[in-house]
């Protein structure tokens, strides 16, 4: 099962196995990774699952949709190069080892 490393704002790392087809957000919520709120459950309504994807991984993801783009400009923490909504990153075997950093705040 592919593994995701969640890096908290204070630098603490947490590795979680996330089944293929599930999102990086679901992996965090199901396992209680703190700092990802996901208030809307993953339907592009809240922008509270914002993460910074590690620079090594950014280009290996499908680019954000127009709606995700629209929301990334409205996240609580500042938008950076690797900013994504983690509910929109679906896990595949190719993403085994993905690293994402969790911002200071989601609201």
């Amino acid at each position: 099962m592919p593994e995701v490393t969640y890096v908290a704002a204070d630098g603490t790392e947490r590795k979680v196995q996330v089944p293929e087809g599930r999102s990086v957000m679901q992996g965090a919520i199901q396992n209680g990774v703190r700092g990802i709120d996901a208030d809307c459950g993953g339907v592009l309504s809240c922008a509270t699952c914002h993460v910074y994807v590690d620079p090594d991984w950014v280009d290996r993801l499908e680019p954000p949709s127009e709606d995700e783009e629209d929301m990334l400009s409205n996240t609580a923490a500042e938008r950076r190069d690797g900013s994504r909504l983690s509910c929109q990153i679906e896990m595949t075997e190719d993403l085994d080892g993905l690293r994402v950093q969790i911002p200071e705040t989601q609201s």
């Binding site: 919520i29 339907v43 592009l44 922008a47």
Partner: protein, 411 residues
């Protein structure tokens, strides 16, 4: 040993209370009691992606079983509570067992309102609230050819959109004079009505169902006050929800009918008892406000969980809500009641626009259609004391985010 926190209701609000209590530093025992057998799960998809096949069972649990173990949150699922003994500080279960508590939190949610229609017990007649309801409805949808949805609220319309997309002939009967009469303002309702009609849904307003007709125990038609009998092999009664506050009423807590009255932090009139989510109504001056939404369950649950940890904090929040119908993402920010003016930002016929509602010149609510970024900005604008003028809101050359930033910089 302390008896700790007992949460009644394995719901969104219930789980949030437990999670927040732990995250806020509460270290005592936590038990969540729920009458359904499943791990606490997400409800919004049940009327949306679950029925269209986009969301499966495995995606529904709010947290994994391991999460509860790790955070020492005991789940008691599949048994109903029958009474709350406040003096003895215990919840009495249907099987006779008791759960003692120092602190009790009601998160019992709401249930589908049923209508006293003759024929309601026929096969083919459904309500939608629980996962079990959604499974039954999903199983029936495959073979349904003609559906009648009784009630033109969000759940009825979401299911109607899925049914008609799947090739079913659909009628929505709404008793009031327009769709979404409780949940949305007329401008959004009018747009939604046109979309449904454009997809071939028959929308009938000002008409009440009077009787369900059946043959051999199965529904075959719906009769209504317009003296029409509409053939149907599937009927969904989507007539709103009733808060599950009966145990609180019986226990003598202050309630508004069956909604449990709380303050802004989820505290009831009894110091050891909290309530959050659909079953709770927040006191606002002389009135009470009850909202049925994930945002409300989450925010009230968070506040109540903090109270358990000894941190009562009031945070003003802008209510928000969403609905998915067809390819439309409808998002509502703020409360529209009492608006005296509205402006449209963008063009409704483009399928991407916003409706900005004002009262006495102040922005109080915003509905957006397929504009998720604007929805997020709108929540901040509604919360902002400076707000935005109707003129600026309606002018697409005014960039809302820059406008908000300039405003925040000026404070």
């Amino acid at each position: 040993m302390s008896d700790g926190l007992v949460v009644l209701g394995a719901s969104y609000a219930g789980v949030q209370i437990a999670v927040s209590a732990r995250e806020s530093g509460y270290d005592g025992p936590i038990a969540i009691i729920g009458d359904e057998a499943e791990l606490p799960y997400q409800r919004p998809p049940l009327s949306k992606g679950y029925l269209s096949g986009k969301v499966d069972d495995a995606a529904l649990p709010l947290r994994s079983a391991g999460y509860y173990e790790e955070h020492r949150i005991r789940l008691h699922l599949g048994t109903a509570a029958t009474a709350v003994d406040r003096r003895g500080r215990a919840v009495v279960m249907a099987d006779g067992t008791e759960h003692r508590f120092d602190r009790l939190a009601f998160a019992t949610g709401s249930r589908a309102r049923t209508l006293p229609l003759p024929g309601s017990d026929l096969d083919g007649v459904y309500t939608l609230r629980s996962l079990a309801d959604a499974r039954r409805l999903l199983a029936a949808m495959g073979s349904a050819e003609r559906a009648v949805v009784v009630g033109g609220g969000y759940i009825g319309l979401e299911v109607a959109s899925t049914l008609v997309t799947a090739g079913c002939q659909v009628t929505v009967l709404e008793a009031s004079d327009r769709l979404l009469s409780r949940a949305a303002a007329p401008p959004l309702a009018a747009f939604v009505t046109e979309v449904h009609r454009g997809r071939g849904v028959e929308i009938v307003t000002g008409v009440q169902a009077t009787r369900l007709i059946g043959e051999e125990g199965r529904v075959t038609a719906v009769e209504s006050t317009d003296h029409v009998s509409r053939p149907a092999d599937l009927v969904l009664v989507a007539a709103g929800a009733i808060p599950n506050g009966e145990l609180a009423v019986a226990a003598g807590l202050a309630c508004d009918q069956t909604a449990i009255i709380t303050d802004a932090c989820g505290r009831t009139n009894e110091p050891e008892v909290l309530a959050a989510g659909d079953c709770a109504a927040t006191r606002q001056g002389a009135a009470v406000l009850r909202l049925e939404s994930i945002q409300n369950a989450t925010d009230q649950g968070r506040a109540a969980g903090k109270v358990v940890a000894g941190r009562a904090e009031e945070h003003p929040v802008v209510p928000w809500f969403w609905s998915d119908q067809y390819e439309l993402k409808l998002q509502m920010a703020g409360l529209v009641a009492g608006y005296d003016r509205h402006v449209i930002r963008g063009r409704a016929d483009s399928g991407r626009f916003g409706i900005y509602y004002f009262r006495d010149g102040r922005l109080i609510a915003v509905d957006t259609v397929n504009k998720p970024g604007d929805h997020l900005t709108a929540r901040k604008l509604v919360a902002s004391p400076a707000g935005i003028t109707p003129e600026a809101a309606g002018d697409e050359s005014v960039d809302l985010r820059s406008f908000l930033k300039a405003q925040q910089a000026a404070i």
